[in-house]
Symmetry: C2
Subunit: 515 residues, 2 copies
């Protein structure tokens, strides 16, 4: 058996049965192995950033890693931004980077580059397979790392190792044990929560799922503590039947207001709050002066730790459940606020929402809070171009669930070819483009960093109106049916039609810029 087939069979045995791929010549034997091992689903992306973002979205919903197949250093480079986001999300992923044949590497051919250095910046585990006999064991080790740590494992596979005989599939790695609960931290948190001082519970990591939300809600209902969800949760379960919770604000000023007066901050899967960027004359650390920070758990195992706390401080207390309350359908001109009401009014049952709406995101939280229970995926690492690829992966992971991809115009252009993969695979993804004709977030930030008034030259670099992007044509050019909406009525009709019909759709929502 050639190396590529041994790798593919080991991946399958380890539960990795989807591979998002943008292959090249050095990966041809892996591609050919897809016919020898038809249980492996190869999903073609037209750009590597789509493949890596899709694997991130897939892992968030499937709860297990996808494979990613990339072509040498440049292919890995193209996938870096979404690997950065995945690293920040703490999701498992097995990345296979094809490399030149071992005998070919000394010749410094045009595509030669330092794959290992690139991979090291985003991967918790990097290994080069040196011979076909090792490929099974190396692949199993990659799966084990990704699964146990919630991180990226990168296996560099020379072409001749891939095409040579002597490959041996390896047994799947043993299931990773759950992260242990730190009982001291549980007791300390319980003591703080019972202590009567002003306490804030900050939820994140796997505590942003349904169980964590319910246990957090029980704890706060019983103790009178406050709670917030981290700003960019990997996967946030919310809506009717789940306790309602606000997110920590993106802008530091807002977060400072939310945290003002807090005497104890308990971190359940979330990091201690810091400003997204540094700003002149402002602190990076958003913990109020004098507030004590208690780490209950990191991102993995936070839900279990929170459950233990809830059993301690709120045994038998029911979780407060958000009622099913949808906004009325608004009418008239479209803007981010009313658009959010339409989304709240129409969001289907069991939806997955992928949110890269940036400036529009703040408006979305409230009107969707009482929609049917859904999962909300966020841009965890700040590297834009995440949303449309993640929607691909989420839809592959959950073909029975509708995916709503809420996408800002500027960041849509980073990985826009994700639409083609949505069409190719017939994925049930509805993309809403917030077309405000600008990098609106940068206009807002320019003021916040005291860079002065926006002159004409600077203004050019935020403007997307000359020419204005036509996302209807862009979507149709990639095989995705699309409509444009300028009023609430048009938007509601387009969104309802998209939800009603399986397969990908795009709605271009023309909204005014905020800044």
């Amino acid at each position: 058996m050639i190396g590529a087939e041994a790798m593919t069979r080991t991946l399958l045995g380890g539960g990795v049965d989807v591979c998002f791929a943008n292959p090249g010549t050095s990966e041809m034997h892996f591609v050919a192995a897809l016919d020898a091992v038809p249980e492996m689903r190869g999903v073609l992306a037209l750009f590597e950033g789509v493949a890596t973002g899709a694997a991130d979205g897939y892992a968030r919903i499937a709860g297990r890693p996808a494979g990613v197949l990339l072509h040498l250093g440049p292919g890995l480079g193209n996938g870096m931004a979404n690997l950065h986001n995945a690293r920040r999300a703490g999701v498992p992923m097995v990345v296979v980077v094809g490399d030149h044949a071992l005998f070919h590497k000394p010749f410094d051919a045009p595509l030669e580059s330092d794959i290992d250095a690139l991979a090291g910046t985003v991967s918790g585990w990097v290994r080069r397979t040196g011979r076909p006999a090792d490929i099974g064991a190396d692949t199993a080790a990659a799966i084990a790392h990704a699964t146990a740590s919630g991180g990226i494992a990168t296996l560099v596979l020379p072409a001749d190792v891939s095409w040579s005989d002597g490959g041996q599939p390896a047994d799947p790695p043993a299931a990773a044990p759950p992260a242990p609960i730190d009982t001291d931290a549980v007791e300390a948190a319980a003591a703080v929560l019972r202590g009567g001082q002003r306490t804030m519970l900050l939820l994140g990591g796997d505590a942003a799922g349904a169980d964590g939300m319910r246990d957090g809600g029980r704890i706060c209902a019983q103790t009178g503590s406050n709670w917030l969800c981290e700003t960019f949760p990997t996967r946030w379960t919310r809506g009717a039947g789940i306790p309602r919770i606000d997110k920590l604000a993106y802008f530091a000023e807002g977060a400072e207001q939310q945290l003002a007066g807090t005497e104890h901050l308990i971190l359940a899967g979330a990091r201690s709050p810091v400003s997204f960027f540094g700003y002149p004359g402002r602190p990076s650390d958003l913990v109020p002066p004098g507030c004590r920070v208690h780490t209950l758990a990191g991102p993995r195992g936070a839900a279990a730790a929170l459950a233990a706390v809830a059993e301690t401080v709120a045994p038998g207390v029911p979780a407060p459940a958000n009622p099913l309350v949808r906004p009325a359908l608004p009418s008239g001109a479209l803007n981010a606020a009313v658009l959010a009401e339409v989304v709240g009014a129409l969001l289907p049952e069991r939806a997955i929402v992928v949110d890269e709406s940036l400036t529009a995101s703040v408006a979305l939280t409230g009107p969707t809070a009482g929609a049917p229970q859904h999962d909300w995926l966020s841009l965890t690492g700040g590297a834009i171009g995440y949303g449309m690829p993640a929607a691909v992966g989420a839809a592959v992971a959950a073909p029975d669930r509708p995916v709503l991809s809420l996408q800002a115009d500027g960041s849509a252009m980073y990985t826009v070819s994700a639409l083609w993969t949505q069409a190719r695979e017939g994925l049930d993804v509805t993309t809403v483009i917030f077309n405000n004709g600008s990098y609106d977030i940068l206009r807002l930030e320019l003021g916040r960093v005291n860079a002065g008034a926006v002159g004409p030259a600077a203004s050019q670099l935020f403007d997307l109106t000359r020419p204005r992007l036509d996302f209807v044509k862009l979507a149709e050019g990639m095989g995705v049916p699309a409509r444009r909406a300028t009023t609430c009525e048009e938007f509601a009709a387009a969104l309802a039609a998209a939800f009603a019909e399986p397969g990908p759709h795009l709605v271009e929502a023309m909204v005014p810029a905020m800044a």
Copy 2:
């Protein structure tokens, strides 16, 4: 003066007056400085790979570096593939990567990553500026490195260094001296050329320009030696009035035929020929057995060394000049061969051709050889997604010259938003998309690596027809007028119309796949 302004003024003083940018919050003061220093032209790209590819194309035509402004590690990651190509092209470039404020870095905010490790894989020079007082000198050092070495200099600029007072512009670096001529190598090459054995002169680097072509032609006319141009020249001057020369073939089998029987191979700016990929049972080194290799010069200074050889072996000998001979306009169904004839028939005076046509490229060389003198830019590093961005840069560098961007469909999708920048800047770029509905090169390569017959699963990963990309809609969606051509007549009419009208145009040429 704040750091950002000192940097901008130092760049300008050093002749860097164009900056291809995709900025974020950490680069806002550099953006604001564009209004304080209006001589600096900021050109917005909607994706970093467009910015880096544009800077490459710019440098190839302008002969001096452009600036590139990128946002933190993810922005640099998105630009990596075209930085790889630029590194392989040996062009100068000054890359500025904004980073978090120094005081903010310890907080590991979401966008924090290892910028230095990423930058190191493509840059000959990486420096972090630690205080505003150093920014002028650091910027001048970056320009000096890029200019002297023909490489990428990356300056990492923390946001607070950028926004703080105390910046001092530095004087421009002294002009880099020309690469010295190795007189021993000149004499050795001259002796070989006069020796009567079968000798091949392989031209590349700056010897692929008009002077190098003429001197190489003089040498071969006088000595009866053979000559070839490297497979992927950075900038190849050719056409009427320039000696005609073939390129070393991309496929190893073809190159082996061209080099068969060669007893002496003289490298004038080119690397010793190696196979692009390693193939089972085939050598990577394409130098025939027993052939002696003589290095006359590296990529920089090759033209000067060649001139010295020409003065030694062919003093007073005129260069053979290719006549102006255009093919007749073909008619009927379109394919890569007749498409090349239309290009040869219609190529305007002083054109710049950017070639990322991949499988179609072989057919283009012959029919365009007698067109008016033009420059031909190639994909030097094999990282696809180079062509359309490079066309942006070439057009910015030479606003008085028409740019023809010959682009394969699959690779077009990597950096397709370059079309938007072409529209924004009103660049005189005509893009021809070779739409064959496939990753045709991979189908060819699959056979060459002995990966067996293409099964249905593998075939999926090469196919771009379900759905077929509609490049007319894609171009119109980004503000570029576009037409589709299925016959020679339609293609000739569309190409002539695009050449006749200033500004960007796209012609989608529907051609059959080869494999």
